[in-house]
């Protein structure tokens, strides 16, 4: 990292003058098939979409190619850019990017936010952009003063020529800089010179989130806008057979009731009349092929299926032979339910559809896909569709929908509304709307040698594929194995010589989707809980066994040791309190957690303390890393203690926060987060805090009760 990086030969830099004055800088990442070169040839013919805009009024606007959903990118992206730009931090503003290929994710090749990848993916691009802008501003100053650029320096938005005492602000140089030819290469600071990166930095979006001015999708209003709610089928894939809208249309404020492919839209002047109108619809549904779906039945089916061989995801050594010759074998089965994302801001989307244009306002994680899907429905070329990305009131994966469900539906409604329209989902719509984290079943068998070390490990996984039928299918499904179904299992970080992981991917009519930590949300739980069982079966301390199995994983070992040390692993606890440990590698980051928990009267698990250690490479904003671990832990505890989506007769049972409960402040434990200092490239932070939570908790509950919990959520009846 200390070696200076340069703008690569195949990256394509553009600079330009902003409308109304100022400097724009943009960088096109190299693309397969020479697309960048084609754009370069076409340079004059497309408008410049910049990453940074330096105004003559000294404002510096950083254009965020990724969505802000709480994870802090509207601060970390400017930090990256300004590490090199050296503008006055108090002058930095952030804007969300329009949809354009220049803002495509450097790895995924589309504009999106997900997979805990913003920091790793933008680690170089935003710094290069800052370096490029600073270099040009300095060159403009040097030219103006007729001095060598190397005799100038930049500091807090000012170029300084120390020898002559001359100074010029970035704003005053922006127009001149825009006329220069960009340099062929720029060098980036070595890590030891960082002044922003790695320093706890206040978030730029916090003030607007404490006075009501932050604008989320639900807050958008455009002239002449109507509001719609949609009644969707009670069973996934159901169809309307009879609709009586007479009473609905009598509700004052209701303008129209229209069928759309996803259901029945009630279009009104504002949310409340729309909702009242919807309550008055009389509908007969054909439930379709999913009428019989029941999660109880699925649970039984999954358990049977797991006893048969699935598609091999990983095989090393001779697992069957090693199991046969093992001194001791143990087996266990784990189950986790469907889960809803339940972002605090329910889904919504504003669409203004005209004959030759479509303008969309929404909080999305998936701009490129949404634009393409919206264009198709609108019957327009994608360039005619514009998406304004607002702040997201939580995402957790749900707002990166492979079918663009909430955007496509809103365009459908706009078509029949014949006016700009905002489609609003209620909490009930959200929880019953599908696109869940899949239900999973994990079956293990381990063989131990005579000294209690695991020598064989087989793991059979049953659950729906998330990637099947999406545009990632080709990339993610190999030999019948969806990589996200087995992540965290097939790449088991512990050294077990004979390993087999196989997979069944039953097809079920419940739409499923990535949910904060994706496959790791079940493998983290099952692998780490089963490893605890293995440790006890072999008469070993669960922390010590992990240490032994991590001999060739120094970063994970260091994280595990740090968590154990800070938690005083081995020290006596108050009576009735147990301690559990878990570690998990995901999104290229290493996280270990130690949880202290007890059981209250009636079997209610109480979590007292969570100690978390993380190695996510070089941190950008360490305070954000801490916040994401805290948030991930609360998210993980909510899933472990509270949540399940169940289906009966094809219908989702849960509907709002009374039966799909969230952890409350009085249930939130004390959380301590420790970051392992690292100079490795940044890795994921938004998701890796989640997977170790549930196993650390069930392991702690075992320590105090002797009861193994193998099914989430943890029920009082498991512990009473």
């Amino acid at each position: 990292m200390s070696a200076p990086a340069i703008v690569g030969r195949r990256e394509f830099i553009r600079v330009g003058a902003a409308v109304g004055g100022g400097l724009l800088v943009s960088l096109y990442a190299p693309l397969p098939g020479g697309a960048s070169e084609a754009w370069a040839a076409d340079e004059k013919n497309f408008p410049l979409n910049a990453f940074v805009r330096i105004g003559t009024d000294e404002t510096v606007t950083v254009i965020a190619a990724h969505s802000e959903m709480g994870q802090g990118v509207y601060t970390s992206l400017p930090m990256l850019l300004n590490e090199e730009l050296e503008a006055d931090w108090s002058r930095i503003r952030v804007e969300s990017a329009p949809v354009d290929k220049v803002y495509n994710h450097p790895v995924f090749g589309m504009q999106m936010t997900g997979g805990s990848t913003t920091s790793p993916a933008e680690w170089e691009r935003y710094r290069k952009m800052g370096a490029m802008a600073r270099t040009m501003l300095m060159q403009a100053a040097a030219k103006q003063w007729n001095v060598d650029v190397s005799s100038c320096r930049a500091e807090k938005g000012v170029v300084i020529h120390a020898a002559s005492g001359r100074r010029a602000t970035y704003g005053s140089l922006a127009n001149a800089a825009a006329q220069l030819t960009p340099p062929a290469e720029v060098s980036l600071k070595p890590a030891k010179s960082f002044t922003l990166i790695g320093k706890p930095t206040r978030r730029l979006d916090t003030p607007s989130k404490t006075n009501g001015s932050a604008q989320f999708g639900l807050d958008v209003s455009v002239p002449g806008m109507l509001t719609a709610v949609v009644l969707r089928p009670p069973v996934f894939g159901g169809k309307v057979t009879k609709l009586d809208a007479t009473e609905a249309l009598k509700v004052p404020g209701v303008k129209a009731v229209e069928q759309v492919p996803s259901g029945i839209a009630v279009i009104a002047q504002g949310f409340w009349p729309a909702k009242l109108g919807r309550d008055k619809l009389v509908v007969t549904w054909d439930p379709g092929p999913n009428a019989g779906l029941s999660t109880n039945q699925m649970l039984a089916d999954f358990r049977e299926l797991a006893k048969t061989p699935g598609n091999i995801a990983k095989k090393t050594g001779d697992p069957a032979g090693a199991l046969k010759s093992a001194a001791k074998t143990i087996t266990a089965e784990y189950d986790v339910p469907y889960l809803a994302h339940a972002m605090m801001e329910p889904l919504n989307c504003v669409v203004d559809l005209r004959a030759d244009s479509c303008e969309i306002w929404t909080g999305t994680q998936f701009q490129t896909v949404d634009r393409a899907s919206a264009a198709k429905v609108a019957g327009l070329p994608p360039e005619k569709v514009q998406i304004h990305t607002t702040l997201l009131g939580g995402g957790f994966g749900r707002r990166a929908n492979p079918a663009s469900d909430f955007v496509v539906e809103a365009v459908q409604v706009a078509k029949v509304a014949k006016a700009p329209v905002k489609v609003v989902w209620t909490r009930e719509d959200d929880l019953r709307g599908g696109w869940y984290r899949p239900m999973w079943h994990d079956r293990f068998e381990a063989g131990l040698d005579s000294s209690g070390n695991p020598v064989a490990w087989t793991h059979t996984i049953v659950g729906q594929s998330i990637m099947q039928g999406t545009l990632f299918e080709g990339m993610m499904i190999k030999d019948g194995v969806d990589g996200t179904s087995v992540e965290g299992a097939a790449d088991l970080i512990y050294g077990v010589p004979n390993l087999q992981v196989d997979l069944h991917s039953p097809k079920i009519g419940v739409p499923v989707q990535w949910w904060r930590s994706v496959g790791h949300s079940h493998t983290g739980f099952s692998v780490e809980a089963f490893l605890d069982e293995v440790a006890h079966a072999g008469g070993k301390d669960p922390y010590e066994l992990r240490r032994a199995l991590l001999a060739s994983q120094p970063r994970m070992l260091a994280v595990l040791d740090l968590a154990a040390h800070k938690a005083n692993w081995g020290a006596t606890l108050a009576a009735g309190v147990g301690r559990g440990i878990a570690a998990h590698f995901s999104f290229d980051s290493y996280v270990a957690q130690v949880i202290e928990a007890s059981v209250e009267k009636g079997g209610v698990a109480r979590v007292h303390r969570v100690v978390c250690a993380v190695d996510c490479g070089q941190t950008i904003n360490p305070d954000t890393v801490i916040a994401q671990m805290e948030g991930g832990i609360i998210f993980g505890l909510t899933a472990a203690l509270k949540n399940e989506i169940t289906l009966k007769d094809g219908k989702v049972v849960q509907s709002n926060f009374h039966d799909y409960q969230m952890l409350r402040i009085y249930e939130a434990p004390k959380i301590e987060v420790y970051i392992v200092p690292s100079s490795a490239n940044p890795t994921g932070v938004g998701e890796p805090g989640v997977p170790p939570v549930a196993p650390a908790l069930v392991n702690a509950l075992f320590a105090v009760t002797g009861k193994r919990i193998r099914r989430l959520p943890i029920r009082p009846s498991d512990l009473a």
Binding site: T210, N211, G212, V424, E630, H658, A668
Partner: protein, 156 residues
């Protein structure tokens, strides 16, 4: 016609009196700082003050506000100077931020009634406000800090 005060200003709205105050604020008055999260008094995102008491505006018919004073997040201070806003910024409490209007409005009533709340007091007063992003540890710290800041202010 329902008439009441929002952040000190008289407003008159011509809506069905059973319409929840939340939707009158958001849709009729275009004050979107108050949020919708559940519509069933379960999450606290819609918390506002009615004559100084915290209420869930999603289940409060606007008729309840007749002649009364409603305070929303927009009216907490003119320029981010309320101790809670200062503490929230100092501790960087929000993540997505969507629940925070409601959190702050609940905390404001707590502080008005109890200038030095304990952790237990905070848990009791804030239990109705969900934060899906999990900012609870920071909310606790920030309320303590706001109490400190408010104390300094009144000592001056």
């Amino acid at each position: 016609m329902t008439s009441f005060f929002v952040n000190g200003k008289a407003v008159h709205v011509d809506v069905d009196p059973s319409t929840p105050l939340l939707w009158v604020l958001r849709d009729s008055l275009e004050m979107t700082g108050t949020k919708f999260g559940c519509g069933m008094a379960l999450c606290g995102a819609c918390t506002v003050h009615l004559d100084g008491k915290a209420i869930r505006s999603c289940v409060a018919p606007v008729s309840r506000a007749e002649g009364k004073h409603v305070t929303t997040i927009e009216g907490l201070s003119e320029n981010l100077t309320h101790p809670l806003q200062k503490a929230w910024i100092e501790m960087d409490v929000p993540q997505c931020g969507y629940c925070q209007s409601g959190q702050i409005m609940s905390a404001a009533v707590l502080l008005a009634e109890n200038s030095k709340p304990t952790d237990q007091d905070i848990d009791d007063a804030m239990g109705g406000n969900i934060c899906r992003c999990g900012t609870y540890p920071r909310i606790r710290r920030a309320i303590h800090r706001a109490a400190e800041l408010a104390g300094q202010r009144s000592a001056k």
